[in-house]
């Protein structure tokens, strides 16, 4: 089994925390994991990407080859399509529909989303709305993990357990909001 995931977004959106939750869940299920991250200059509001590789065999490259990724999770609608050349022809793009407009030539949003809907396999989620409905705009990351979860080769219980562990320090209420965000994201994607 091999499952490669590209997680994309804009610096500061939490690409690394999404990646970390999936990675730790995969390890608990006994898989090998490699997670390549972007640190430094690009994190300042630029395009950010993580390469997350899960496998039941040893993993060689830290980077995912073209045409082989099983999934792209994008925190932002413009950032996902940058990596389509990495996506295996029958694999899925899961993207938030909420744009981060910090460049002057950002494309018109409706046109961009319409274009993304042309893809053979795509899941678009209004992550900000779902997160706010569940009590905190900050829970968008867990909405996106939820939206990707039906496709991940991981048990729901393992993912939920990791969400509990990561947010435990911030108290029961924050744990609860993030679990609800995760479940609502999952529901929206199905």
């Amino acid at each position: 089994m091999k499952y490669d995931i590209i997680v994309s977004g804009v610096g500061g959106q939490g690409v690394l925390s999404i990646s970390a939750i999936i990675a730790s869940s995969a390890m608990q299920e006994g898989l090998s994991v490699k997670q390549s991250e972007v640190h430094g200059m690009s994190q300042r509001g630029g395009a950010v990407v993580a390469n997350l590789r899960l496998s039941d065999k040893p993993i060689q490259s830290d980077l995912i080859p073209h045409g082989t990724a099983s999934l792209i999770i994008s925190m932002e609608p413009l950032e996902g399509p940058r990596y389509l050349s990495y996506l295996s022809p029958d694999a899925t793009l899961v993207s938030s529909t909420n744009p981060v407009v910090n460049i002057p030539n950002y494309p018109q949003l409706d046109g961009l989303l319409a274009k993304l809907r042309e893809l053979k396999k795509v899941v678009l989620v209004d992550a900000e709305k779902i997160a706010r409905d569940k009590g905190s705009a900050q829970a968008v990351n867990m909405v996106m993990v939820g939206a990707a979860s039906p496709l991940l080769p991981l048990k729901i219980e393992t993912l939920e357990q990791n969400i509990r562990t990561i947010f435990a320090r911030k108290g029961e209420r924050v744990v609860d909001i993030n679990l609800q965000a995760f479940r609502a994201g999952r529901e929206a994607a199905q």
Binding site: V10, G46, L63, L78, L84, A91, I103, N105, L119, G171
Partner: protein
Amino acid sequence: MPDTVLLGDEAVALGAVHAGISASYAYPGTPSTEITEFLIPYSRKHGGRPHASWCANEKTAYEEALGASFVGRRALVSMKHVGLNVAADPFINSAIVTIHGGLAVAVADDPGMHSSQDEQDSRYYADFAKIICLEPANQQEAYDMTREAYELSERFHIPIMIRLVTRLSHSRAIVRTGEQRAENPIKKVPVAGSWILLPSHARKLWHELLLQQTEFRRYTESCSYNTLALNGSRGGLGVITTGIARNYYLENVDELKVAPSHLHIGAYPIPLEKVRKLIDHCGTLLIIEEGCSFVERMIRGVIPPSIAIRGKESGELPPDGELTPDIVRAAVGLPARQGVELAGLQLPNRPPQLCSGCPHAETYDALKKALSGYTESIVTSDIGCYTLGALPPYNAIESCVCMGASVSMAKGAAEAGFHPAIGVIGDSTFLHSGITPLMDAITANADMTLLILDNETTGMTGGQPTILPPSRIDKLVLGLGIDPNHVHVISAFRKDTEKNASIIRKELEYHGVSVIIAVRECVETAKKKKREALAEVTK
């Protein structure tokens, strides 16, 4: 010991801890920063052992590590590739002294220039200094090699370089760790003169280092990091990989009909006997290395080779940028894989930019206002977040060369007759390499203005504390003997822009050295402090 998930950088850090280091020194620089980011909290949690700290720059960091070695303790010094330029003086000379306590130098190169101004390859430095260089291919090797570096350093009495690259430094994987070794006892260098590089001593020590090269080669011929597998009949394809290039090769090799012969190099000097064996067996040689064509150029030499050699020099691999599994795939002759296509979608780039609310943005506004009356001006700048002021909408700076060059270049331009000449430098860069050129400028009373952007942190690398607290920068500048009437501390708030612009303008008109320090805390650091304070309360 349990398995741990570590970044390549963290694997080096933990490897050094388990090898029994007593001290670790560094200046922040992507992609090496996470080594020390790991060690500082580790040290705090373990009663201050090993000592771990940030230093003014890579040169002071290196020399502090040398001090630890001098008294018999093991030490780690880490930096990014261009940091080794700053530390080149102690580095090269530390190969000549008789290293006592083990010394490992972790240098993180940045092929592809994700966060750097060049993609120099530190293996040339190791070769130049005539020391052993270990180049891990994965996180496990980063840990193992760092441990071994200390054994080698004490066995051969030289510093050992651990050469990292961005993709390994910033990638996480599971690492199996070993037992913690105790720190060395304190014991001064036993041989008098073995650290005194007077010419009469240095000649002898240099000669000894040259004689030792045979022993270094014997080690790299036999060590487990350099592996040779001869496959198939003679005359086939042979592949040499170095460092993480092996991962990209192994990612593809199973699809080849005939498995090539393969030499992997993880320890230098290059194992020449193994290279010769491979060349004897093969008809064509492909050399895949991350960084410069270091091994390839050495093997090619100037005499035409007996077999065909392919690599960066001959164009089968790109001479610049980072390797990827797909680039290596093409080089071994496999067809490209197709991904998903979406025709007709415009994807504008999203370059990094100053954060919303960044104090640098306000200072750049004030500077542009102050310069508005001049038909021409020059603004030299430096390395940090504020370098992003080169991009629209600011377009505020005109140079970024190396740490501290903003100050010296402004002086040079002023003395060449250009007016107004302005240098713009961050607080951490100023403390790293800006003080010495400012001394030059003050002594010459050069007709220039220096703007120090004091955001109270080392911003670009993630907000490490500066080596002196911000409140001391003006005192430091005054201590250099500058006319106090031409030193100003201003606050980088939007409401003060007009006032700040007029102060800058006035100093541009003054024909001597002026220093203006624009102070306001980095918005990211302020947020981070708030988060940490909150975490402390809810603990």
